[in-house]
């Protein structure tokens, strides 16, 4: 069986340039539906009546500021890439990575606060609301880990100067996903703040 596409690097590069962003956008739609399912589940379960409000931990509030700032920082890197200022781009990606890890840390601090206040993920003393709070924030973190991995890839490629003013698709894909994670968190934060907390 012969081939005229598999080993053709020009064809592959062209495909990547053309399809990476649309593939990401459709994937984001499915992630929206996943979290839509989760947050709808919260609303449906609250239709039952009894529910105990949970004070929103300060860690979650701090992480909201962190992820918003990180989006701007990462975006500055793209502007730097377009100007082929690799030094600034590297700083931008490294800072975003640090902010991303800080987000994870402040989320963890939020869970510690919840636990200390007697709200548990599972077990006899857990409530539906507390379980939802841990699970939804945890699932966001799971998606964010994907974002952190993509940041590391972007960092390596930035260091190797693989992006330039004409071709920065990989950077843009990672950036779009990062912006999405930020937007998703802001939605989840306010949703949880006003439905559970």
């Amino acid at each position: 069986m012969a081939t005229i596409v598999s080993n053709n690097s020009h064809y592959k590069d062209e495909l990547k340039r053309k399809n990476s962003k649309p593939l990401l956008w459709i994937a984001l739609v499915s992630i929206v539906m996943f979290f839509g399912g989760m947050t709808s589940a919260v609303i449906v379960s609250q239709g039952g009546g009894s529910f105990i409000p949970i004070p929103m931990p300060i860690g979650f509030t701090i992480s909201t500021y962190i992820i918003i700032v990180s989006s701007f920082v990462f975006h500055f890197g793209l502007i730097a890439i377009k100007k082929e200022n690799y030094g600034l781009a590297k700083i931008s990606v490294v800072l975003t990575l640090i902010l991303g890890l800080s987000f994870v840390f402040t989320q963890y601090m939020g869970w510690v606060t919840l636990h200390d206040n007697g709200f548990y993920l599972t077990g006899k003393e857990s409530t539906q609301e507390s379980s939802f709070l841990y699970l939804i924030t945890g699932l966001h973190i799971a998606h964010l880990i994907g974002g952190l991995i993509s940041l590391i890839v972007v960092l390596v490629k930035t260091v190797k100067k693989r992006y330039n003013s004409d071709d920065s698709v990989g950077y843009q894909v990672s950036l779009t996903y990062w912006h999405f994670l930020g937007g998703l968190w802001v939605y989840l934060f306010f949703f949880l703040r006003y439905s559970i907390a």
């Binding site: 739609v29 839509g36 857990s126 409530t127």
Partner: protein, 591 residues
Amino acid sequence: MSTHHTKDFLFTYIFSTDHKMISKQFLITGFLMGFVGLIMSTLFRLQLGWPGESFEVVELLMGSWQEDGVMAPDKYLSLVTMHGTIMVFFLLTAGLSGTFSNLLIPLQIGARDMASGFMNMLSYWFFFISSVIMLCSLFVEGGAASAGWTIYPPLSALPQAIPGSGAGMTLWLIAMSIFIVSSLIGSLNYIVTVLNMRTKGMSMTRLPLTIWAFFLTAILGVLSFPVLLSAALLLTFDRSFGTSFFLSDIYIGGQVLDHTGGSPILFEHLFWFLGHPEVYIVLLPALGITSEVISTMTRKPIFGYRAMIGSMMAISFLSFIVWGHHMFLTGMNPFLGSVFTFTTLLIAIPSAVKVFNYLTTLWKGNIKFTPATLFSIGLVSTFITGGVTGLVLGNSALDINVHDTYFVIGHFHIVMGLSAIFGMFAGVYHWFPKLFGRMINNKLGSLHFWITIVSSYGVFFPMHFLGLAGVPRRYYTFSEFPMFENMVDINELISVFAIAAMIGQLVFFFNFVYSAFRGPKAPMNPWKSNTLEWTTPVEHFHGNWYGDIPTVHRWPYDYSKVDANGEFVYGEDFIPQTTPLGDNEKDGGEH
């Protein structure tokens, strides 16, 4: 693009990124899974037709799953559950959509491959792994999942509930989660390929209706499967980590469980938000295939091309706002029930448009009765007969009377099961030359069709009467209920037809395998069809067209086009999409 290169076996046949090979992988895996599901249904029909009787074949196939040649009750439930799961998801979702979306999207839109060949390969291998895990779940302690294919809690949420709630259920959830990932990856690829990779001239209104169907199916998958994933995740937490999303105040074996505050109804909402679009994920590809086959085989343009697209869009949209009709008996507010009744009955309108267009395309057509044509007409038949009973079940006032009875089984097997499998068979017969480069035997194909349609109506039509008499679904036996004694003969008859249906499929399997290796070599365009896939060489190679990809100049349904003198415009009764429009000639898709 001229680096011809022979690849080794592993990357040609196993880890191929060529959409045509992946299509064949989906087809064969789907059919193998379907065969398992078929055997399961035959086994439990033996129990329902002749309850308590001993059968050597049951002993042979079921081993310790039977006692003294009789199927154990909990194993009956496992068989019913696994039959439903395998048929709905593994055969009719991945098997159907995976096969034909992969085969036809690049070929009919004029692309060398999918947007991402790697993701395409990944999609198949996730499907394969999930199939293996699902089959392995048959052999674990306690048996396979047995809470029904809808896996409602608490049976699915408490490992100690019934034997099938243990390891079998855990594996079911793992397999389905992997399946969902496979489906999502596949759907992403299909959508982007259709939007981004069409050849020059292939506007959206020149797309064959197959592509529209696969495109909308993929959109449904992307929007609905993630919600099932969220339900599966919450269920896993309830099962394994002690949360109470779907569980509340349960006593089991005299023991009070810790769960409190949850509701199994929440699961139903999440499940059916996928579950109803899933009906159309299964059905739309079959409808698209039917449009293509009917138009080609009647040598007529499809009637109402744009109306067909519009009705598929309407069906897709409506499928998201009807899930409550599966839940009329959950204590739903009657007003909300009436809303769901209204939205459900609305689906009858686009469905009727499609049926009308199929019939008007067939009307006075120069019909060539190939097996593909027969199965397509069979689909039109089942879409009508199964759809009519949908009007009963979609109406809350009527549904309440027959809810969870055999009426429901009869309805959805005809409208969804038969229609989808008929569409799949139509597709396999029609595109067999493209898949395997050989022709399939038409006589055996026609025999397969007639056995299948007679026996499957024989199975599912009488079920409506059982349901109207109140016979409930999922019962192991009806011999203990005096009120159902007069139903014994009907059950026996249904089982006889089920066995006949299974034998009919053996004809197909023989024909399929024999023709794939020994059938006569296929010509390039055996059906004198207009679409682009028939412009590719019979021999498969990665890239589809040796030279440039052809440019498209017209819609795909210019059949029997005559001039003012009644002569065929280009001397033939078909005009390929690659033929430029003549002076003053209008494109059929544009108006």
